[in-house]
Symmetry: C2
Subunit: 365 residues, 2 copies
């Protein structure tokens, strides 16, 4: 029996989400290199094997080391390389095929001196998100990076990698499709332009909204896709139109501890240390930190949304429940389920899952 905040994971939904994305990658004739930063779990990672997945993406060296121990031997760290960690890179690159991201010559010249084993290198490319990476159209800078890579024996140039994270700011699926098309066009231009010098050059493409909404045909020009969040999805992806609520595979089970009918609220033990402070904004301009559903055993009833978390502090969540009849039947000691705004951050905080048959699933700690 669950008595305290617990992250529930529905394996059937996870498997369906993996199956759908793996089938799409296959139909698009592109490599499926899922991002494991969402689940951070060796066991959950192992479920991908049945769908033909052999290479993965992570967001830190620590996470790469964790999944290497779990048997993954082809890992891309999709984060601009931290050159201070050159020793750990050497250790890992001795054991597995390790790919890193480069976006400046400082990293190239430093690592060229320090690396003892070859690593694969992608140039981290910005197709419009504006977070980090080299502007996909800045051929001068790209040329400067390629120059030393051409002759390097340690840094083996693979191609260009982008995360089109600006899809998260889109308001319609049409807008997402446009961002995807524009980003792929820019990446393809690089490939075409550099084909004579680098005939094996690959383009690697990320982000769950793009990969969920695009048809296989629209992903056909990519050598590789790296969605991550799709394994669980969440309220943010639902809002973006990247999934239905039936695809959301994790929910925070949280106990009701207080009730304030005069303001249509309940208080739950479920706060920023469980869900994170990530929020969405509804059509009235109000922020919310997750959607609340009825919990049936270990399964949230996603067809039965009863409210939203409107305020969150370290351990408290305040849930607004507008339907007086529903509120009337909720009492302290009940458990409700929260579909998180952002499942990656919730999983990272909870550090473990409970499956629908009550088994505990561990994560990296």
């Amino acid at each position: 029996m669950i008595t305290s905040p617990t992250l529930l994971l529905n394996k059937n939904i996870v498997l369906k989400n993996i199956e759908t994305m793996a089938a799409k990658a296959k139909a698009a004739n592109t490599i499926f290199r899922p991002h494991f930063k969402t689940h951070q779990s060796a066991e959950t990672g192992s479920w991908f094997r049945d769908y033909g997945v052999e290479c993965i993406t992570v967001s830190s060296l620590k996470m790469a080391a964790y999944f290497a121990v779990a048997g993954w031997n082809d890992i891309t760290i999709a984060f601009p390389v931290n050159i201070l960690e050159w020793k750990e890179i050497n250790e890992l690159a001795e054991k597995i095929n390790l790919n890193i991201l480069i976006e400046n010559n400082e990293a190239i010249s430093f690592l060229e001196k320090k690396l003892t084993n070859p690593v694969g290198v992608y140039i981290k490319t910005d197709t419009g998100y504006g977070r980090t990476g080299v502007d996909a159209e800045n051929m001068e800078l790209i040329g400067k990076l390629l120059e030393p890579l051409k002759t390097s024996k340690k840094l083996i140039f693979i191609g260009f990698l982008t995360h089109a994270g600006h899809t998260y700011h889109a308001h319609t699926t049409g807008e997402i499709k446009n961002i995807t098309a524009d980003s792929i066009r820019k990446m393809l231009a690089l490939k075409t332009f550099l084909r004579s010098d680098f005939p094996m050059l690959q383009i690697s493409y990320g982000d769950t909204p793009s990969c969920s909404i695009a048809t296989p045909e629209e992903l056909n020009d990519l050598d590789e896709i790296r969605p991550g969040n799709f394994v669980f999805y969440d309220e943010m992806q639902f809002r973006l139109g990247a999934c239905s609520r039936e695809n959301i595979a994790v929910a925070l089970a949280a106990p009701v501890v207080a009730k304030h009918p005069e303001r249509n609220e309940i208080t739950i033990h479920g706060g920023a240390v469980h869900l994170s402070k990530e929020f969405l904004t509804d059509e009235h301009g109000n922020n919310y930190y997750g959607t609340v559903t009825v919990l049936d055993g270990y399964t949230p009833d996603v067809k039965n949304i009863i409210g939203k978390i409107t305020e969150i502090s370290q351990e408290h969540g305040i849930v607004k429940i507008d339907d007086k009849n529903i509120l009337k039947n909720i009492k302290p000691g009940d458990m409700i389920a929260v579909l998180p705004a952002h499942s990656c951050l919730t999983a990272n905080l909870m550090k473990g899952y409970v499956s629908a048959n009550g088994e505990y699933i561990t994560m990296m700690i």
Copy 2:
């Protein structure tokens, strides 16, 4: 040598913060029951002993159990009791003096049946924050709660507890002082009104902004204060006027991984999984997730603020540095320090500290 995101803790500053608050509590003739949810560390907790601290506050049963193992035997869980955890309450109450918060009759009648050992009970009181608790002026509801508590042998009524968290929404220290005075006035009214029935009734008062800004005289009517964040402080408290930057005892050391001079930005490995997504809003209406300083060994130079984190994602932090001369000298492979927006959430994510002499300090995990 630090090579990856690391939470630095300056013990000297911590001790000074504890000393100042302990001295204020003593001058106010009030019990000092610090909230340990900020540091969540047995070692950091042990430093309070030298300042006469014998009783503490925590925010969950799990945290109470952790500090009980560390030798604390008088603990208040300052969160509305989760009745589903009655077994764990019984286990803990057998070993230590445990106090819980009640705000509804459901919890009273349930626990009256289930508890095997007596626990201290505060009525969780709302003096205007509006998060949870019984309205301090709702004498009808307070009366209904007191009725069964009068005769209970398991639930030993101690008094009223409040967290005046609306101080966090204040714009000036004057406003904070007004909230503090108003909250204490409401609590004192309860004490006065109920004195004949409950001559030993105590009032317990929380929140770091109140306790930092009030004079000892202004806290004199309280039986107990429970500030927590003051042990580390952070940018939020600095903005509120509750501390100076010299009082901020923790900083995230983060490696620089990329530089984008065309938009005055650097990218650091320091994101939502390190700092949380808590943000502050500056005078121009822009959000920021922490303030960036030069790092000198293990010590952030708080007099040398060079920028702000303007965007944050799971692992990335984007730092805006407006001074071109400063930006010119920063390169990938440098380490900078981030003074967090909210130190409690940052500590909770980092799960450990490195002290100024390079020692690792563990936390509850």
